[in-house]
Symmetry: C2
Subunit: 160 residues, 2 copies
């Protein structure tokens, strides 16, 4: 069995949250230069926050700690394969290395919709919109695009 | 031009944020029964939070207001097509109707990576892992799965 102290901590966090019931049994931590800079547990129920997955909370805590939105050079350890929300947040945060314990099939097996959301996104890519999951409609791009045009011409912008 | 007061507000929020520069020029609002219950602008730079996209902030504010993680029956208006993080958060929150202004190609055109992340996820689905974007490695599932087994047998769990 491959052992790692940071993965042990992520799994311990998931186990603690099974007892606390702040949300699903998930834990994660962000590591920089061999030190934990942010921990997270799933807080969806406790915080009334559907975005408060363990990885999201760990990323937000690490960013708060480091006073940056950019976690380049950091690694993330999570007790379960990230859902598409968390996976995207990891990429937005410029984290390039992730270690996970359970698989997304394991998450599906205990009742979570990770796999279902991946499938929805994958079908979107080939133009197969499942409106019963989510109905996405375009509206008034003519007005919205004006702000983007201003932004495009702005020389002081910070791209992240 | 299709007009709608909630889309106007989402676009106005994106325009305000172009001036404020709290993050990218994006705005969103969550609507329930014809009333706004949560607004959001992109706060990535200001809050040091890579997860603080307009839709995420609007969802978190709406959930705080309603004291629930479940936004069933709500609609979301956003000045730009949601990135995969926001799209997944919308599904986790049980929102089933989304109206967007700008497209993800428009976002790409002003320098954001929405399209790039969609592409990464789409390739993952067919087993094409791009390790230069993100290296995902399995580690110690044998330990992680024990927590899931406990959870599976727990009769008091709340599934979201």
């Amino acid at each position: 069995m491959k052992k790692n102290k940071f993965m042990d901590i992520a799994i311990d966090l998931s186990d603690d949250n099974f007892d606390k019931k702040y949300g699903g049994p998930f834990g994660a931590c962000v590591v920089k230069n061999g030190k934990i800079i942010g921990k997270g547990i799933n807080r969806v129920i406790k915080d009334h926050d559907p975005t408060a997955h363990a990885e999201m909370v760990a990323i937000r805590n690490a960013c708060k700690e480091m006073k940056t939105h950019d976690l380049s050079g950091c690694e993330l350890y999570t007790s379960c394969y990230p859902c598409p929300m968390c996976l995207s947040a990891i990429i937005w945060a410029n984290i390039k290395t992730v270690y996970y314990g359970n698989t997304k099939e394991d998450a599906n097996d205990i009742g979570f919709r990770d796999d279902f959301i991946y499938e929805y996104i994958d079908k979107l890519a080939v133009g197969d919109k499942n409106d019963s999951v989510l109905k996405l409609s375009s509206m008034n791009r003519e007005a919205a695009i004006k702000v983007f045009e201003q932004y495009k011409n702005d020389k002081d912008k910070i791209i992240y």
